[in-house]
Symmetry: C2
Subunit: 214 residues, 2 copies
């Protein structure tokens, strides 16, 4: 499977690219914004393309030829304001969904955020961020793509334990970025995760066990 | 018909409330944010309710009992930032659509902005504003409500002439706010405008003639 990772220079993105690269049956295509980021991946022998979520749907679609699965883990980052959140986390995500449809991509997996499906859980300090994530997810659900919506809790840089909790609705909790990537890898292999949405935190079950809760 | 006007204290909203009030077969319900705005309408003998687009869907739905048509002409205003645009022009609009569905409202008419249906036309200085309007419109289209999406050009305070141009796609042009209200009044009477979206500027045709272009 050819897997395009949007946000490949991000912290979760790097974990995903490495894990897809190690997988014998999958090939990563790392989508990054800058030439130096592209060169960093190329130095590792990984195919990397330059793409811009503030560009056009057509440009994004041209990067998705022969792509089977898109993984969206991009974001404007905490240092930017609501304007960039709107244009990247929300509009950019939706443009990549439109592009995926145009390019006949089969699956689309998005990294969302815990609880954003319920307005009662939205961040009081930055509700626009929760809204951006919520509506990108909602859009994906209505897109016709085979979607998986993964809503992790507080992200840490701890090493992944492979032990998680997965459910439609979870109390807040943390999870290592590496385990988010591990769950995504499991989703690639597990067709039951198609057209599913779930919260994700660290827990006591293996990923395979936890996914049977869906 | 009972017509709830969301954004009734705005400049277009005031025109609409007055015109609905004058219409023998329709009754306006002016939704405003502040007690003094409510009292101003009540002094004119107009039914006014306090509602907040940053509140809950349930609160909004409770204001829509026995409402036949919702007209949405609210906005956070040009002085606020992208965060409020996201939460009012976008999320607030969508909450009012969800509320309208819950309350079995029949029609929903939204005042959008010229050209926002095409990303190529989005405002370069404030693309998030265009995005907010675009996606609110898209949501309405998928809502199952009987929608009408009116995308006026540059708004002026000139007196309405009743002469307009209406089409799926127009070059930029201005239009008096009063004529936007006149077009909305015509839409209330004309079932052909159900499930239609159009750009609107001043022009040479009467509103009735222009609506036959749909």
């Amino acid at each position: 499977m050819n897997v395009l990772i949007i946000g490949a220079n991000g912290q979760i993105g790097r974990h995903i690219v490495q894990k897809v690269e190690k997988h014998t049956e999958h090939t990563p295509i790392a989508m990054v914004r800058k030439t130096e980021q592209q060169e960093n991946y190329q130095d590792l022998g990984i195919h990397a393309v330059i793409g811009n979520l503030e560009g056009t749907v057509e440009e994004l679609a041209s990067l998705m030829e022969n792509v089977d699965t898109v993984i969206f883990t991009a974001g404007s980052g905490g240092h930017t304001g609501a304007d960039k959140t709107m244009m990247i986390d929300f509009d950019g995500a939706i443009k990549s969904m439109e592009a995926a449809k145009q390019a006949n991509v089969n699956r689309y997996i998005i990294v969302s955020a815990i609880g954003v499906h319920d307005r009662n859980n939205w961040m009081s300090k930055a509700p626009y961020y929760s809204a951006a994530k919520h509506y990108a997810d909602e859009w994906l659900r209505k897109s016709g793509l085979h979607y998986t919506i993964i809503r992790p809790g507080g992200l840490t840089n701890d090493e992944g334990s492979g032990k998680v909790k997965i459910s439609a609705e979870l109390d807040r909790g943390d999870i290592p970025r590496e385990d988010v990537a591990n769950v995504i890898m499991a989703c690639l292999e597990d067709e039951r995760t198609i057209n599913q949405s779930f919260d994700l935190t660290s827990g006591n079950e293996t990923i395979e066990e936890a996914l049977t809760n869906l």
